[in-house]
Point group: C2
Chain length 442, copies 2
């Protein structure tokens, strides 16, 4: 009976995570969870599907091209979430009374955007957010820097910088320069600095924001100030400290810098960077971007900021907050490029060879003994030739093979083959676990 | 400016996972990952959205009422995955050549079914599957029992049974009884035994499968055999051992029982249960269901079986396999009912009180010191009254509060308040970490 096969394929812009990608992703997310929890952030999740009205907010009537939106079986206008912030806002409006504030939460989950897939961007990706809501205290803003620092260190990065800015400083400067009405256009241009450089921004400030080249130059000179945070703050203070918004922003940044240093963050981690604007319609206070010294080109790997009111579309309760989002895919790409990923994707370091067909119970027993000692042990499922089983172990990346043929089983010993060192030891059954432990930890 | 609020709500059949639900779910999934990895299963993931053709297989032209199916922006006929098996089949057809067999994988992720929500069933839920494909060896079937055992033990369950059956035994018995042509109807009736009991099944065997009451009684007498696996196997052997299929099934079950016992599974964990049929169109060999002794009514918490060919819709390569799926929501409900969930959902055991407004750096430093020692420590973000901060800690479920007022900071000490024991200790700064460690571990 001939049957037409269905071509196995994924949708454009979507991808599988095979073991060699999924294992490091799981490890990364486990480490992020561990860091978030160590600061007291609480986990939560929300449905992938929501009412389109909820996700689109005021724009509910418009068609958003990025949104996967459709009618469900009940005729409801529904859509897949495109970020984790809007669901958090809806959640907070519904439930925050029960939990009270301050409320720290992290949320890890997939989101969907139907944008044109390009340069490593996919239509489905995992977001990994953390936020503190219900407080305007600068302590929450400062904590964000510590969390970012611990996240990157825990992932194995040693050379990175958290670039910080404050929207009050930017807004105050624009007031001072008489450009308040052009704020959006100016900040939108400035935000592209990393991508298009000084000349590109200057061009855009003139053509899009309608600035004269003198004004554009002034803004760019300011944005490009280099120096230690202390030096930049001093310069800002001297030049614009009389402007009330600038002064308030400076005070926040000064405390942020002082506390992070005093509480142990190394010099150089926190950088003040007046070019960073971010999320124009959303962020209202401190803003953050994080760059890897060794891969500045991949852009910010952890970004966020402070906002005045999370959930104004759904509740009258004012919920200010601050948070950031770890760029999971970018970080995985960076870890790959910097050789921070393990070479093997074997999840169990030991392969127990299935040698003598009627001795399966012995092999399963010894594998169980290894597992109870915390050592992953896989039993090959067929009593095939030793050569084939070792080829499998080498392909998968097992570190050790434990071999018991008729002879070994009679003598009460095992052969432990170190597949990396290409050495082999005969070990008494009673010593197997400790020997394997020693080889793996040595 | 008055503005109409959007009513914050989730779709019918969907639910949020607030911290008190999401924390145990994350813990459960982390433990499942740990067990799967310890057996060498590799993680993978696939997109939530796939071509409807892929997900529906041969039924691609029909409308499946359970499927969330729609046209994307490019006019493609797409749908949300309704299980993890079909995506695995598609994945294997595409990529198995690269990985080779045997291939062990686990897959944890959300799936969507538009069925009528009822009795704790939701339209979005997490599946947690493991499978070994590319081998017909009974060793893989036997391993499934070990994995289920370790999963449940790791989750804290002590009293449970893995019920095992073999489709060859069932099919052989039906051949022997001259009922081959009624196999589907008979097994469908039998599969409901847990829900509708003997009388219900008997009724259905007569009305739906068209059996005479003598035949129905014979089947039910067989299905209801009680005894140790050895006793049941002996009885089957004696009565039906001459039937070739039955004999093959008995041999598999006999080896499964012998190996699991010899390799250390306690007596009573494995039960032979001839009532279990499962997934009529899919499973072809060993089948598994798992019941908690203390909550038999919630049904099977880990089920699966062996199949002849995973991916025949997408590839000519024959991929036999065996696996099972952990019932995440059922297990969480069971853990709640059996008091296996922690009472508190605080992720950090320590709250560092923010007492003196200009000493934030000290509080953050001490919190960092605790975290580096592996102790989660949350800093309250506002320098509010002590009473309010302690009320917060009590509400969230922190175990300890670390308090440093002006007086303590001058003296170089901390007050460590045990919120459970309602006791308080004055501790020198240098001894803080060890003291907190001692209280938490004691």
């Amino acid at each position: 009976m001939a049957q037409t096969l269905i071509e196995p394929r994924t949708l454009r812009g979507f991808r599988d995570y095979p073991p060699e990608l999924q294992l490091p992703r799981e490890e990364l997310l486990a480490k992020a969870r561990q860091v978030y929890r160590s600061y007291g952030y609480l986990p939560m999740d929300t449905p992938a599907l929501e009412y389109a009205e909820i996700l689109l907010g005021k724009g509910g009537e418009e068609t958003d091209k990025q949104l996967y939106r459709f009618r469900d079986h009940g005729g409801r206008d529904v859509a897949l979430r495109f970020d984790l912030t809007v669901p958090f806002a809806r959640f907070a409006a519904e439930h925050i009374q029960r939990y009270g504030t301050p409320f720290r939460r992290y949320h890890i989950g997939p989101v969907w955007r139907g944008e044109n897939p390009q340069r490593g961007r996919y239509r489905e990706f995992v977001q990994c957010d953390f936020d503190t809501i219900g407080t305007t205290s600068n302590a929450a803003d400062i904590e964000v820097v510590f969390v970012i620092y611990d996240l990157l260190r825990t992932l194995g990065f040693e050379r990175f910088q958290v670039h910080v800015n404050h929207r009050w400083v930017l807004n105050g400067l624009l007031e001072e320069l008489g450009l308040v009405e052009r704020t959006v256009a100016v900040l939108r241009a400035l935000d592209k600095y990393g991508k298009i450089g000084r000349e590109g921004v200057e061009e855009e400030l003139r053509t899009q924001a309608g600035l004269e080249s003198g004004q554009a130059g002034k803004i760019l000179d300011l944005a490009e100030i280099r120096g230690s945070p202390a030096e930049i703050l001093e310069h800002l203070e001297k030049t614009f400290g009389h402007q009330v918004k600038v002064a308030r922003g400076i005070a926040c940044l000064r405390e942020l810098y002082a506390v992070t240093r005093a509480a142990g963050l190394p010099e150089g981690v926190v950088q003040l960077d007046l070019r960073i604007a971010r999320g124009l319609d959303y962020y209202t206070g401190t803003v953050y971007e994080t760059f890897l010294d060794d891969l500045p080109g991949i852009g910010s790997v952890c970004s966020g900021g402070r906002y005045d009111n999370l959930a104004s579309l759904y509740t009258k309760q004012v919920l200010p907050g601050v948070g950031a989002s770890l760029g999971v895919d970018r970080l995985l790409a960076a870890m790959q490029e910097l050789n921070l990923l393990p070479a093997s994707y074997a999840t169990a370091p030991v392969l127990v060879v299935f040698f003598v067909a009627d001795k399966l119970a012995l092999y399963m027993e010894v594998a169980g003994r290894l597992r109870r000692a915390g050592i992953g042990a896989e039993v090959y499922p067929e009593a095939k030739k030793l050569r084939e089983q070792l080829a499998y172990a080498n392909k998968r990346g097992h570190r050790l093979a434990v071999i018991g043929g008729e002879d070994e089983l009679t003598r009460g010993v095992w052969q432990v083959k170190d597949l990396r060192a290409q050495s082999q030891h005969t070990v008494a059954d009673a010593d197997l676990v400790t020997t394997v432990q020693r080889i793996l930890s040595g």
